[in-house]
Symmetry: C2
Subunit: 906 residues, 2 copies
């Protein structure tokens, strides 16, 4: 085993001489034998570097068996020759106690020999400790799977699928298991409270206090699965654009990065995979539009110059009358996205969303089973761990209380435990936090709306100014220029606010003093999602549902700031503008976020860090003396720290919003999302494998709150799509015309029907066009609205048609919403949460277990008269000696996880 | 213990000398020592009574240790002196084998000494078998609860709540546990296959084949909890109308009847309890209507004779013009249910439904915890057990296949196992079943609609006929008479069809050949619910949404069968008719179902059975010789068999439908439901305690499909209420008038606005009233509709008002639906699924466990070098010897359920 591993390493190093220069011996303590499982990093204060020279000479390897008794800390440190100055800083004291306690727990520790500003504490976890922890945390041994007889179809499917499978050898024996299961932080907080230095449990608290700067496991080329180097495999088959048409090697990802990150990539994979059918249909819908545009009566009518509709001017005085046929191209473009097929596609996408969520649930179940997470109780330890800030607050509160009670002698140990006992903050403690939260969120909402309004104003003003330009050439391009520049400004605003909102969400949640890390994460995510999604979608919402609805009518236009007319959609409809808006924001966001935020900015950051360290280093002359080959931990420390999965999820969830919320107006959204994600997966993969420090392996059963957010978006999407179809697109007016008003039952005459009449005598004085190319005696011009004609008793009032179309639109919303919701529920009900194959496998495992228990029971009854004093374990345990996994009975995994001690009625 | 138990029994017998004449010695085998845990009953065929006399003489108690070897069955039987004729019937053979296998499993069996037509096989399960089964089924030992410090409020609450608590002594030691846990059927199917007689597993199969007639445990006065006789307690504190204001003694119910029945009553309790606030608010809304009816402008206007609206005749020729003020009382009555408060109440009820579902989830979680169901895996054995009909079908199919393959020698044992291996029915096997299913359901839907249409026709025809009556007195009462009789006919139809549909649902599901009992149950429930709810709600739906919408207008009425006018709602609005319809059907259904179906019919059935048995008995002369005191099993056999919880649930779920679906039109529905349920609980309780055989104790974790049905009804209710408010009630037209058309901003003039004008010249020839009390020269009459007046260019067309009101109605539906759905989701999200107290308790238990494990771990490390070969059980098991429950450590329950064998990384 060891031999093959070093061979792999050698090969790998040969191929990637610089990428990640893995040298297994660098992953060990100085004795070259004990592995470095985890690294803690801290900075030494500048002023201490004065008396460091005196200690550095006798630096040697620490003895892991050292057990210092309380009281003589500094002595012990010197004695052990840790190469450290006497702890005169409180942080040093804390660090000292923490590390001593870790050693008491059985961990082994090594410090640097040289004295640099950045110092490393390396931890090794001996086998005995690891297995004890494994037992306590109930890490489960998996069962061997028997996949049973596969039918011809499934064989065929496997063959077809072959090219998409990553080039990872099939696991030969899924029972062999992770000796090198990454040392998890869990074990660090579990039971290492620094009570002496009045501190609390856990590494995260120490990180928060700045006792350590950083804590991470090392990138490790020695992790193998089926005799293959996992890291190398990940490099070749995952973090590689060449592999972007393949499935991801999920088991390897999970093995190397843990379940939480594994689930993220699995989810991203499922999402991307399901985007394929959606994209295909989206393209088909678009093509259908392209093919039928020439047979579409309304756009033909709009382009027909013989019909000669003279339209009313779009603004007062400076604007002229215009011919409807001049916007022919917009009308045709609009039809590409606004045809019958779009409605079907919108319903399809509602179902697609339901299928996606259900499919993910199934996939998650399968992963849970194959990763043995089924029985796991959602990591209660981690979940209930208090946040450092919360603990601090409680401590301060109690100190204050104690002071008020005039009890001068505050014993900190007792305090710590009383605190734990009555662990809660009152409502009044949280009130200021909540107030700031609510007001900040309202403020941010205000900022978002102002940003949107600002862009609207920009458009209105620039449009008005440019309209006054006497040059006819320039006038023709006004709309395009204004729209495009406005959208780009919009995009920039969205991008900038996105970053700001992310920071603000974290900051205001911090003020809320949430109790546990998981609450904190959940609250940050919810707030960030609320703000960011509002930020991204508000401009689109405006264009889809509000633009042009308050513009007034010729002769009675609505003005803002007296001079500028409220903007209106192009006469081709608002839908095409939604398309442009959506397309540019979505694509721009993806491109810029992928390129700038995920590639350029980290590079810049790194450059800055290097620069800064070099500057620091130049002052740190003594470090240069000991300039030695950089160790693995030095290299890893130079990488970017891992910053959680939230930004990755957030990006994808917002994208999911773009894909589903307005799909009725932009059927190409899934295609763009698909293209982006294929790249995104590999980009993220490369980031995880090469650009950031190795994250802690965190176990997780599901993707948590993100699932709820996705399901919320899907539900909301049904409503938005219903409104887009009925209010933004021309679908309903066309239907109403065809079935209610058309005399021939066809669409002929539709354009005429949608245009209201205006008598030019009704222009208010001074608002008629003062310079026109058209007949000055023109009496009637047309405008797009449902209003009674000038000759009717209720002239210019909303007409009966308006109300009937409105009723039809609303009826359609009700119909669409209920249909889509019903179908989604039906889909969710029809697709079982657990795949049949998994169900059958579980049944089989259970049957095996039952059989085994019965046999055993029978044996027991034969050999013993009183069955209650024996335990089941004798039978099971025998295959479990270290190093003999081959002797395990087939169902031993099941046995281990199910066999309880005899449980009786007493 | 035994002493106190017999004391209780004595007391109980004294109080209930006849009710359930419990005599513990009758609950035992003839040796007076072994308890009868379960009873199997079968009938002997008449013709065998001939040669029975010869065997009966040497009847004695069977020896339970008898183990007959295969082959010489009949000999063994005679040898054991079972008092049975040699098994020459196939059923006897099967029975013989089954009972032998039960004995092999360790069960002890007693037969009757006398030879009667009804024979009993009594089973006793020895302690050793029981504990073995408990171990296999993982029945868990509960933990001791520490409720922690209760605040002043909760103490206060406890005090307030005291009178409502059932008079059951507080459990002193919740760890003492059920020695007499009712012997469950599970254990009978588990492993008693009759392979010899070519039969399959399980008692349910034998029951289906008629090998046994009945199988039930006995009502048992000897079950005690905290030294109290459970049955007696149930009698006094539960199945007693005097206790109907109290909570139910849930733990006792669960102890005596098992979890499934316990959950039903718990659910019913939660539902009834939550009906209290809904009822209170419903009554308040009704009272608000009563108090404000005099200030309501529209109904005042309708009653105002000075306004003098002359209405058009309601039918051609025979009907006269009429004054609007003549329907003043209807208008006022209508207002009681159709006011602003109703809208708020409808939204409240949507939230109420959400709260109810969430609250039930919490309660269920609490029950799961206190009944130790948390870890239970949904009774997989029971779930996967094949149905006898399914097995039969498979068997026949394979026999046929075998015949076709010309393999003559069909070994049945092999067949049985091959069948099990390839256990599935192809789609073609099920096709006829599915076809019959679909067509039957469609047929039933048709029947329901015909029934509704029939009643409508009845109304139309009777109304027309009675209208022709020249007597003015009679005419005035026409509407009331017709409506009332029609509703009563409707009610009868609903009741009759309800019973029929229940039977049909079971029958067509049988044809579908579902695989397992749980699938069968689920399918029956779904179909029965579909049919029954349609049956109950269709008439109400008709009145609410369709009645009067297709009636035409004066001069152009719509006719059915040429002569009869389509019916119309009263001019006061349809809402009052919905009220009447709903009130009568709901109340009538409850009263009749409670009294007739749940009390009278069982009594009649029993009388019939007694009568029939007496008739049978008179022929059975020899039984009369051995006329002895009836044993407990004789008495229990005379009770009605238990027929499952489905009818009980169904009744309540339909009621829930009445309460939620149309609550906007009938705010008093919750009150009636509440009154009914308070009685219903005690009625059901009495039934379970005294009138039916004791049901098998079935464990269940949740109420299953019923929860989904309830949640479906709640979702649907949002939609129906939205439509009722906007389309059935006058709420929207009133709002639209007030804010869009009213010149004063008040409701004055509303009545005039809602009435359209009709020119009497436009009557078609011969349709004008031929005899009128009004002025013959009357030119204009009014009718309730939004249509253009005769003098407009589009006379009698739907007016602009119509369309704007329609748009407002639809907009309201969208608004209401989304608001209610959003609020419901918010409520569901805000109410955590698990109560905080339970969560904290679980956390505490977990902490205890962790502590214990750590201590143990530390001990282990001290005493042993290699921690992997020891198991945790030594430490835990010591408190568990039989009879020493007091020595259990506090957390032993947790320990037992959590401590696994060491699980390692290998």
């Amino acid at each position: 085993m060891l031999k093959s591993r070093s061979l792999i390493k050698h090969e790998y190093d040969r191929k990637h001489p610089t990428a990640l220069n893995h040298q297994p011996n660098r992953l060990c303590f100085a004795d070259g034998c004990r592995r470095v499982d985890y690294v803690l990093v801290y900075h030494c204060k500048r002023r201490q570097s004065q008396h460091r020279h005196s200690v550095v000479s006798n630096g040697n390897v620490p003895t892991p068996s050292r057990r210092s008794t309380k009281g003589d800390i500094s002595e012990a440190v010197l004695e052990a020759g840790l190469g450290m100055e006497p702890p005169n800083e409180p942080q040093d004291k804390i660090r000292e106690e923490f590390e001593r306690r870790l050693q008491e727990e059985g961990l082994e520790i090594e410090h640097d020999k040289e004295m640099r500003t950045v110092r490393f504490t390396r931890l090794h976890v001996p086998w005995s400790v690891l297995s004890r922890e494994a037992e306590l945390l109930k890490i489960r041994v998996p069962t061997k799977k028997k996949t049973g007889l596969m039918g011809i179809i499934s064989t065929f499917w496997t063959k077809i699928n072959q090219p998409f499978q990553p080039g990872v050898p099939e696991p030969q024996d899924p029972r062999t298991r992770v000796l090198s299961q990454p040392f998890s932080r869990d074990k660090l907080h579990l039971r290492t409270a620094c009570t002496q230095t009045c501190q609390t449990m856990g590494i995260s608290s120490l990180l928060a206090k700045g006792v350590y700067d950083s804590a991470f496991p090392l990138h490790d080329v020695s992790i193998v699965m089926n005799d293959i180097c996992v890291l190398q495999m990940l490099h070749e088959e995952w973090a590689n654009y060449g592999a972007c048409y393949k499935y991801q090697p999920m088991d390897l990802i999970r093995k190397y990065f843990g379940e939480k990150i594994g689930l993220y990539f699995a989810w991203l994979g499922v999402y991307t995979q399901l985007l394929i059918p959606a994209s295909a249909l989206g393209v088909a819908v678009f093509l259908y539009g392209c093919l039928t545009v020439d047979t579409n009566v309304p756009s033909q009518e709009m382009c027909d110059e013989h019909l000669n509709f003279t339209m009313c001017p779009l603004c007062d005085r400076v604007c002229d009358y215009w011919q409807l046929s001049s916007i022919c191209s917009t009308a045709r473009a609009s039809y590409l996205f606004d045809n019958h097929a779009t409605v079907g596609f919108a319903i399809f996408m509602s179902l697609w969303a339901a299928v996606f969520l259900e499919h993910w649930k199934r996939r998650q179940r399968c992963l849970q089973h194959s990763w043995d997470l089924t029985g796991m109780e959602d990591d209660e330890v981690r979940k209930n761990e208090l946040r450092p800030a919360y603990e601090d607050f409680l401590l301060k509160k109690q100190e204050k209380k104690a002071k008020n009670n005039k009890k001068e002698e505050v014993n900190c140990t007792i305090m710590y435990y009383t605190k734990l006992a009555s662990e809660s903050l009152s409502w009044t403690d949280r009130l200021p936090g909540y107030c700031i939260n609510i007001s900040s969120i309202l403020l941010m909402v205000g900022v978002t709306f102002s940003a949107v309004s600002g862009v609207i104003l920009y458009r209105i003003i620039v449009f008005a100014v440019m309209s006054m330009n006497p040059d006819h050439e320039a006038k023709a391009n006004v709309r395009v220029t204004v729209t495009t520049t406005a959208v780009i400004i919009n995009l920039l605003v969205v991008l900038v606010l996105d970053e700001i909102y992310g920071a603000i969400a974290a900051w205001i949640t911090e003020l809320e003093i949430p109790k546990t890390e998981s609450t904190f994460e959940e609250h940050v995510i919810l707030k960030a999602f609320l703000l960011k999604s509002m930020n991204s979608f508000a401009p689109v919402f405006y264009v889809a549902f509000f633009k042009g609805r308050f513009a007034g009518r010729p002769g009675d236009y609505v003005y803002v700031f007296k001079d500028f007319r409220m903007e209106e959609c192009s006469p081709g409809g608002c839908l095409i503008e939604v398309c442009i808006q959506l397309g540019i924001i979505m694509l721009g966001k993806q491109l810029i976020q992928n390129n700038v935020f995920e590639i350029a900015i980290p590079k810049l950051k790194k450059m800055y860090r290097t620069y800064k360290e070099e500057k620091d280093g130049s002052a740190d002359e003594e470090d240069k003396d000991s300039k030695r080959e950089p160790q693995r931990w030095d290299l890893d420390y130079d990488l970017e720290p891992y910053e959680g999965l939230s930004p990755e999820y957030m990006e994808m969830v917002i994208q999911y919003g773009f894909v589903t919320l307005f799909v009725a107006s932009f059927p190409l959204a899934p295609v763009f999302a698909l293209l982006n994600n294929v790249i995104e997966i590999r980009l993220d993969a490369a980031k995880f494998v090469t650009e950031i420090r190795r994250p802690d392996a965190v176990s997780a059963k599901e993707i948590g709150i993100w699932y709820n957010i996705l399901s919320g978006i899907s539900k909301f999407a049904v409503i938005t799509n219903a409104f887009v179809i009925s209010f933004t697109s021309e679908f309903i007016p066309r239907m109403v015309y065809q079935y209610l008003y058309s005399e021939t039952g066809t669409m002929h005459g539709y354009t005429n029907h949608t245009l209201a009449y205006f008598n030019t005598r009704n222009f208010k004085p001074g608002t008629a066009p003062h310079d026109t190319d058209f007949d000055r005696q023109l009496r009637i011009c047309r405008y797009k609205d449902y209003r009674d004609p000038p000759w009717s008793p209720e002239s210019y009032q909303l007409s009966k048609q308006y109300w009937s179309v409105l009723a039809a639109r609303l009826a359609f919303v009700i119909f669409f919403q209920n249909l889509a919701m019903f179908l989604s529920m039906l889909v969710a009900w029809l697709i079982p949460d657990m795949p049949r194959s998994l169900k059958e496998q579980l049944k089989r495992e259970k049957a095996l277990l039952m059989d085994l228990m019965l046999t055993e029971e029978a044996d027991k009854q034969c050999t013993q008269s009183h069955p209650m004093t024996t335990t089941n374990n004798d039978v099971v345990i025998k295959g479990l000696e270290e190093g003999s996994p081959e002797e395990l009975p087939v169902c031993s995994g099941v046995m281990l996880s199910h066999v309880h001690t005899a449980e009786f009625l007493t």
